[in-house]
């Protein structure tokens, strides 16, 4: 077996395999696939004429060296990516119980609509008279978002949830500055998503953690005690990351407002309450909405997302450009801060152009398909399914807050694994061998060995029952210290556990031709 200078094999499939060793290194439908760079052989996958050009207008900066890209024909390229795709788990192929991530069904109608040429092939700086349908779509989506949340305004440009958090905090920052105040501190519960404290720091604030109570709720008294004239805002997730609704939210909001601060709500879990509870009724000042969670724009292996931010009356005037306004001639984007309507004081710009239009089309398609009744039913079904899992498994697994109902996700901890030699990680990886994606592990941080299960509304009862059956049996075996299937799991996936320590210690972040590696080693 040949090795590179990191001591790793130079191609896949050369090292150990379980069971029958095949000649090809492939195993039935499981194909090993080389890197595209190892497959290239100077072919071309597009037919383009070979045009000669002069250097006259290139400013003396014509490329001197080759780029180093591999060349393949179209069938080779198609096969490469199809083979890669088959190494991925996906919501279309099975239940994807990642708590906090909301892996629900992605309707294909949404994809089709986003690809209509009037949307997909529309330039962001085309004359606005030629983009009125796009602006109307954004306007309709804004109406859905403000109506569902009971908030007066929404900033559409943030490109993901974390980007929406930043937008909300920058609006809060601008509002505080306009009052001539300085408030450097932001309160964040310790159960928060990592993006919350990261965003607060990113927006130039310091972070002060608020503890959780033993029942999984934020400690409202501790939070109130931390309020003061230097506090800009609290960032609270509701329903929270333990899958619980913060029942004291209104009192918290009132106390925050009385202290002159703002209430930022992390809307990652809005999918539990959409169509049932309006965050505007709870005293929220700003909340991002992950269109890729609640409104089912596909996760795409980690993006693109979209994170519009709804804003209260107190923050609405600080929304970033572009702004969408209606006038005599139709809808119009205001792209210049100084051209903002009277009273508006945009804090700046989040990104070039106007936001994730492709995601807007998908989200509006989802909303029109569901309707208000379907959105409400989806929230109820998501909560019902999570509670069904909680009720079915809490006797055999341990649920720290299992006495009462949960919202859209069921939280378990690792106390049922104590003394078994099986860890949360082992348990989750054993699910892979059973054909499931693991649940979210070790988050939220307030629970030891957390396992957070979010089934979403997209699973049938039969699918839930089968999932429960598998987890029930796994938990029973673990408790009986039958650890064989857990040790080193997964055994049956395209890869066994990967050495993440080695990856971080000597990072190999790009392909290098074997010749250059050899030269580097010498």
């Amino acid at each position: 077996m040949s090795m590179n200078n990191q001591g790793r094999p130079t191609s896949s499939g050369e090292a150990g395999t379980t069971g029958l060793a095949t000649i090809s290194g492939d195993r039935g439908l499981d194909h090993e696939e080389k890197l595209i760079f190892e497959l290239g052989h100077g072919a071309v996958g597009v037919d383009l004429p070979d045009v000669k050009i002069s250097d006259r207008r290139l400013g003396g900066l014509r490329r001197k060296g080759a780029i180093g890209l591999p060349g393949l024909s179209e069938p080779e390229v198609v096969r490469h990516y199809v083979r890669l795709s088959r190494m991925n788990y996906a919501i279309d192929s099975g239940l994807y119980p990642l708590g906090s991530c909301t892996m629900k069904h992605n309707p294909r109608l949404n994809e089709k609509m986003a690809r209509l040429p009037g949307f997909g092939d529309l330039h962001p700086l085309a004359p606005q008279s030629t983009a009125q349908g796009a602006l109307e779509l954004i306007s309709q989506l804004m109406n859905w978002l403000t109506t569902l949340t009971g908030m007066p305004a929404v900033a559409m440009s943030p490109k993901a949830g974390a980007h929406g958090e930043l937008c909300g905090l920058l609006a809060i920052r601008a509002a505080i500055e306009s009052r001539g105040e300085k408030r450097p501190r932001i309160l964040v519960p310790e159960s928060a998503h990592g993006t919350n404290p990261a965003t607060a720091a990113f927006a130039g604030f310091t972070v002060d953690e608020v503890p959780a109570k033993p029942n999984g709720h934020v400690d409202a008294e501790a939070l109130k005690a931390k309020l003061g004239p230097d506090v800009a805002a609290i960032m609270l997730t509701n329903p929270n990351t333990c899958g619980l609704f913060e029942g004291e939210v209104k009192e918290i909001a009132d106390a925050v407002h009385a202290a002159g601060a703002y209430f930022y709500c992390d809307g990652a879990n809005f999918n539990a309450i959409a169509g049932k509870v309006r965050p505007g009724d709870l005293g929220v000042d700003a909340m991002h909405i992950n269109l890729h969670k609640t409104f089912s724009t596909p996760h795409g292996g980690g993006g693109p997302g979209a994170g519009p931010v709804v804003l209260s009356e107190r923050l609405a005037s600080f929304a970033p450009i572009p702004l969408l306004v209606a006038d005599g001639k139709g809808l119009r984007l205001i792209e210049d801060r100084e051209a903002a309507p009277a009273g508006a004081k945009p804090f700046g710009r989040m990104c070039a152009f106007h936001g994730q239009m492709g995601m807007f089309v998908r989200a509006l398609t989802y909303m029109l398909s569901h309707g208000r009744d379907g959105v409400r039913q989806a929230s109820e079904d998501a909560v019902l399914s999570a509670n069904y899992i909680l009720a079915s498994l809490k006797d055999v697994m341990s649920a720290p807050f299992g006495d009462g109902p949960c919202m859209h996700e069921a939280l378990f901890d690792d106390s049922f694994l104590e003394g078994t030699g099986v860890t949360t990680l082992d348990f989750a990886k054993a699910m892979i061998d059973e054909g499931y994606h693991p649940m979210t592990m070790y988050f939220p941080l307030v629970v030891h060995g957390a396992m957070l299960i979010e089934p979403t509304e997209s699973e049938s009862k039969a699918s839930l029952d089968r999932f429960i059956h598998v987890l029930h049996n796994l938990a029973t075996e673990a408790r009986a210290k039958k650890t064989e299937r857990f040790a080193g799991a997964p055994h049956l996936a395209p890869r066994r556990r990967l050495d993440e320590t080695a990856a971080a210690r000597k990072p190999v972040l790009r392909y290098r031709p074997p010749d250059s590696l050899k030269a580097a080693a010498e």
């Binding site: 390229v77 991925n88 030629t130 949830g161 693109p304 990967l498």
Partner: protein, 447 residues
């Protein structure tokens, strides 16, 4: 509702197992006053697929798609032909409907293409390392400035007058919190004396090439000037196809490259989603924002890929992270990497030459019109012309004739009277001789 599998019987049986009388019993922590009846929501009810498709199609039909007209807009987003196999492949369920690859054993497909993507971006930009993408070119530029501020422990950033104004505003909005952002004067078609603005407080100089007017900039002298003062050079590329023809920023002394990757594999989409490319010198690796995918081995010694160096990231480091970014632009990176694999070395260089040839041809045609002057002496596929009258009125008049003539500079720089008559035009492989003839004759009529 066609997307919801539970039947009324299922729901009853499930409630019975839970021991709840009805579903609202599960919402018991919600204050009673906050539980809204359906009638509170003044919105429409469930619709079938046919009906929804009709509504959306009507909205789409009110817009003029780039492919439906002679079309010359660029300025940060470019119309290119995307091969059919790209969109087919990115819609495979296993790519489209998977999450961030946190479980590498069952996400090697995503991880391997991210590794390949990083390799391609590093090669294209001439840099040592690239990440697995950021949201878009503008936010990547802002992240680059923040990174330079961290590395140099200085606050000031010098922004070239040729940087896309939306990018400059995005940078100012976030990096402006940590130091002064100094914008150099706008001088369409000319290089600028950025060296004079760099001082001992300067963290970085941000230069776009080709710039917002289309001008190709020589980064070498700027890199030298920046490095002499201990500052970094951030190179910005909004038209990544240009790298098939032009010297990459990495060969011109850039320390960080932030680029918009939309041109390869991704549609115009009215501004998003796009894909931010981010590359840097290896010595700055641990200050990089965003996901990184690295090579490793599994327990049986087989090669595999994982997300790595995540101690930089928000889910581990929380308020000490290098960025708050959580997602990347996964599916757009996939479209980028598939299209670039189809192009390969030869395809990309051919595509780049065709783009330059088309734009040169158009520039020659326009330069022959009376009163029209080419402002940008060196360009890739986009250039700026000076018209004898305000460009926005010309663009509106041509739009009424069904021609999307380009982006008036005044749309991007509304306060700068000196750019009022400037029109920024892009030509790509998608433009035909008929497009050029239509634009030239319509312009001649109007001017």
């Amino acid at each position: 509702m066609r997307y919801l599998p539970l039947t009324a019987d299922d729901r009853r049986a499930m409630l019975a197992r839970i021991g709840a009388a009805d579903v609202d019993a599960l919402f018991r922590d919600v204050p009673k006053a906050a539980l809204a009846p359906l009638s509170v929501f003044d919105l429409t009810d469930t619709k079938g697929e046919l009906e929804v498709e009709r509504i959306l199609s009507q909205l789409a039909g009110k817009n003029i798609a780039a492919g439906a007209a002679p079309f010359f807009c660029g300025a940060g987003a470019y119309k290119h032909h995307v091969p059919s196999s790209v969109d087919h492949l990115i819609q495979r369920s296993e790519f489209l409907t998977s999450y961030t690859p946190y479980q590498p054993e069952i996400a090697q497909g995503t991880l391997q293409y991210l590794f390949e993507f990083q390799s391609q971006v590093a090669l294209l930009t001439g840099m040592e390392v690239a990440n697995a993408s950021l949201y878009d070119g503008s936010t990547a530029t802002a992240e680059a400035v923040l990174m330079a501020q961290r590395i140099t422990k200085r606050g000031k950033a010098i922004l070239s007058g040729g940087l896309h104004p939306h990018y400059a505003e995005t940078v100012e909005t976030v990096a402006g919190l940590f130091g002064p952002m100094v914008r150099s004067a706008v001088q369409p078609g000319k290089a600028e004396d950025l060296a004079a603005l760099i001082d001992a407080e300067t963290a970085c100089v941000v230069v776009q090439s080709p710039d917002v007017f289309g001008l190709i900039r020589d980064l070498n002298p700027i890199a030298e000037a920046a490095h002499a003062k201990g500052a970094l050079l951030i190179a910005v590329v909004t038209e990544v196809v240009s790298l098939g023809l032009l010297e990459p920023p990495g060969a011109q002394g850039a320390d960080i490259v932030a680029a918009e990757g939309q041109s390869i594999g991704n549609g115009l989409n009215f501004g998003g989603p796009y894909v931010g490319l981010f590359a840097a010198r290896e010595k700055f690796l641990r200050q990089m924002p965003g996901r990184l995918c690295g090579e490793t081995v599994d327990a049986e010694g087989r090669r595999g890929y994982v997300l790595t160096l995540s101690t930089r990231e928000q889910h581990i480091r929380r308020e000490k992270a290098t960025s708050n970014i959580c997602t990347n632009s996964g599916l757009c990176t996939l479209a980028f990497t598939i299209h670039l694999s189809l192009l390969g070395e030869e395809g990309l260089t051919r595509l780049a030459r065709i783009n330059h040839a088309k734009a040169s041809f158009l520039a020659d045609r326009l330069a022959a019109l009376p009163g029209v002057e080419i402002v940008t002496p060196a360009f890739f596929n986009e250039f700026t012309v000076k018209l004898p009258k305000p460009a926005n009125a010309v663009v509106d008049a041509l739009a009424a004739k069904g021609i999307i003539a380009g982006v008036p500079a005044s749309r991007l720089m509304p306060h700068d009277k000196s750019v009022e008559n400037l029109l920024i035009l892009a030509a790509t492989e998608t433009n035909t001789d008929e497009d050029f003839a239509a634009l030239t004759s319509a312009l001649q009529e109007i001017l």
